[in-house]
């Protein structure tokens, strides 16, 4: 079907021979781009020199042979380096050599095929015109006849009750799928879920991960504890609750602390607890510096100053980390006074 070097003539026809078509509202540039046609044909080195052609053919054959060798190598490697259960390094060797063999085999086939096509297959510039999509008059008439017959035999056009009820049924059928989209949203009010954690009055602060309670005397000055609530183990959705309730516990020298009047009772002898969830996009903020009292978020470098109630001192976070008010119970263990007084983590639409 392909005609050599015919693209130029065809496209000239297309641009010049339709003056009858209206341009409508389209803006037509006065200087229409002229199809420059095909560049002049340059013969390849392999076309001119039979020696070079032979070399190229040998290269292609060599690459295919190399691919065979690589495949065989992969099989041999699979046998030589078997996977011993429990030995990580045997998996490493097995995967490495098997993978190297298979990928070299496939790569060689690909490179050889391209090299073959570029250097040895018939060379020349081609253009293939598109087939017309319109069918012949006979085909069109036959198709129309099929529709007419179908309509007549089924009575689709005549029986209005059936036709209308069918259209109605088909229109309603997808509605259950649309209704099911509701499940993409949380079952409960998300704003409420995000505003509360499982911290409550009297809930003990416990060590992550083993859940042992922490005595106030355990927390020496300069210490950092990673804390989960005591009731996390009993909660239904542990990971979701942990993601909101994770707390970092630090003890500062009370002289270094700047505490506002309303938070006077929120710390215990310099022991402070802050939400570990960054107010920017919710990464765990846990890079604590002992002497500067800085907390650094590893995701976007927000920095919070613990000695100034976790005030933002650098980075994209806009709000300080929420503080968990703590005190000590009768046995000397650290407990929460209440939940956080504000939602933890990043902002959301409904956040007050």
């Amino acid at each position: 079907m392909a005609k050599k070097d015919s693209g130029n003539a065809e496209s000239e026809l297309a641009t010049k021979n339709r003056p009858d078509l209206s341009a409508g509202t389209a803006v037509i540039a006065s200087e229409v781009f002229q199809n420059p046609g095909m560049p002049p044909h340059h013969p390849r080195a392999t076309d001119l020199d039979p020696k070079k052609e032979k070399v190229a053919a040998r290269r292609v054959g060599g690459l295919f042979l190399f691919s065979i060798l690589a495949s065989v190598f992969a099989i041999v490697a699979y046998v030589i380096f078997p996977i011993t259960p429990g030995d990580l390094s045997s998996v490493r060797l097995n995967n490495l050599f098997l993978g190297v063999g298979i990928s070299l085999a496939l790569l060689a086939i690909g490179i050889a095929a391209i090299y073959w096509a570029k250097n040895l297959m018939k060379d020349g510039e081609w253009s293939e015109p598109r087939h017309p999509t319109r069918g012949s008059e006979d085909t069109r008439a036959a198709a129309a006849e099929v529709f007419r017959l179908g309509n007549e035999e089924s009575g689709f056009g005549r029986r209005t009750l059936i036709r209308r009820s069918l259209i109605g049924a088909v229109a309603v059928a997808p509605l259950p799928a649309v209704v099911m989209l509701r499940d993409l949203a949380p079952a409960a009010n998300p704003a409420e879920l995000m505003s509360k954690t499982i911290w409550a009055k009297g809930v003990r602060l416990t060590r992550d991960p083993d859940g042992t309670p922490i005595k106030a005397s355990d927390v020496t000055v300069g210490s950092v504890f990673h804390v989960i609530p005591e009731n996390l183990e009993d909660s239904e959705h542990k990971l979701e609750e942990k993601a909101k309730a994770a707390v970092i516990l630090l003890r500062l020298d009370p002289q270094d602390m700047h505490v506002s009047a309303e938070r006077k009772d929120w710390n215990y002898q310099g022991i402070v607890a802050y939400s570990k969830i960054c107010t920017h996009v919710g990464c765990p903020v846990a890079l604590a510096e002992q002497h500067t009292h800085h907390l650094l978020c590893p995701c976007h470098q927000s920095q919070f100053d613990i000695s100034h109630e976790a005030k933002v001192i650098f980075g994209p976070a806009k709000r300080p980390l929420p503080q968990l008010p703590i005190s000590v119970d009768a046995d000397g263990y650290l407990v929460a006074q209440s939940d956080f007084h504000e939602p933890v983590g990043p902002s959301f639409w409904e956040r007050p």
Partner: protein, 261 residues
């Protein structure tokens, strides 16, 4: 009665014998142990005296003649032998210059000299001691060590222990290839801006588990996936794949469409 008992022991003899026995063993023990403790305390005080000289000559500029601290350096009361052993043993102290963070460098003192300074500092006020050998041999629970490391250490030191940046020029150093003793001492003393992880937070067994994880990682995991590019995560790996991976793809595409000569 007295005749019948002739040749037999007096009834009080047993009591007397027991008393004599007790007193002699007790006395001997007391005598020996006092000499022993006297010996060790003289040894200690000798070491402390030696340590005080080294301290006065090398550390007192910043920490003060009595180790009470100056504006240039903190007080060393209560930091303990572990802190001295860590700071001097890893070459962080004496500082080369004041800066955001003292860097690790070849130690300037022999272990004996460091022990002497440690003895001097711990004679001033009690503090954490150099850890016992049994926590350092890497025989702890590797899985538990990984979990504790992930929760307490990985945010600064990177999950592979490769280290990472902190604020204003400070950084968490790499833990790869660091002696177990120094890892333990760093946890228990909280050097520079690292928080303290006392035995009330992470028990000695927890610390041994963490060390075991790091040592396991060093011997088993390094190089599993070929070159680790510093183990720094997505930045180094992303840079590599963008430059070399995409570069190779672009190169191949150009070659496929280029005309042969």
């Amino acid at each position: 009665m007295s005749r019948r008992s002739t040749g037999r022991r007096h009834p009080l003899a047993t009591v007397a014998l027991i008393l004599i026995g007790l007193m002699s063993t007790g006395g001997a023990y007391a005598l020996l142990s006092t000499t022993a403790s006297a010996e060790s305390s003289t040894e200690n005080s000798q070491a402390a005296a030696e340590g005080q000289k080294i301290f006065a000559a090398n550390c007192a500029t910043c920490h003060g003649m009595n180790a009470a601290g100056t504006e240039a350096g903190p007080s060393l009361y209560g930091v303990g032998a572990a802190s001295v052993d860590f700071q001097m043993g890893t070459g962080r102290m004496p500082l080369a210059y004041q800066g955001p963070q003292g860097a690790e460098k070849p130690p300037q003192f022999t272990q004996e000299q460091i022990d002497a300074v440690a003895a001097y500092i711990s004679s001033l006020a009690p503090g954490p001691a150099v850890p016992a050998e049994k926590w350092l041999d890497g025989s702890g629970d590797v899985a538990s060590g990984l979990e504790l490391f992930r929760i307490n250490c990985a945010m600064c030191h990177n999950i592979a222990g490769a280290g990472g940046a902190l604020t204003e020029g400070k950084y968490a150093p790499s833990l790869q290839g660091v002696e177990a003793k120094y890892i333990y001492e760093a946890m228990v003393t909280g050097p520079q801006n690292m928080p303290v992880f006392s035995d009330l937070n992470l028990t000695p067994q927890d610390k041994a588990d963490i060390i075991s994880y790091l040592k396991f990682q060093e011997t088993h995991a390094n190089g599993v996936a070929g070159v680790d590019l510093g183990g720094l995560g997505p930045v180094a790996e992303g840079l590599f794949i963008w430059i070399f991976g995409l570069g190779a793809i672009i190169g191949v595409t150009i070659w496929i469409t280029a005309r042969p000569n």
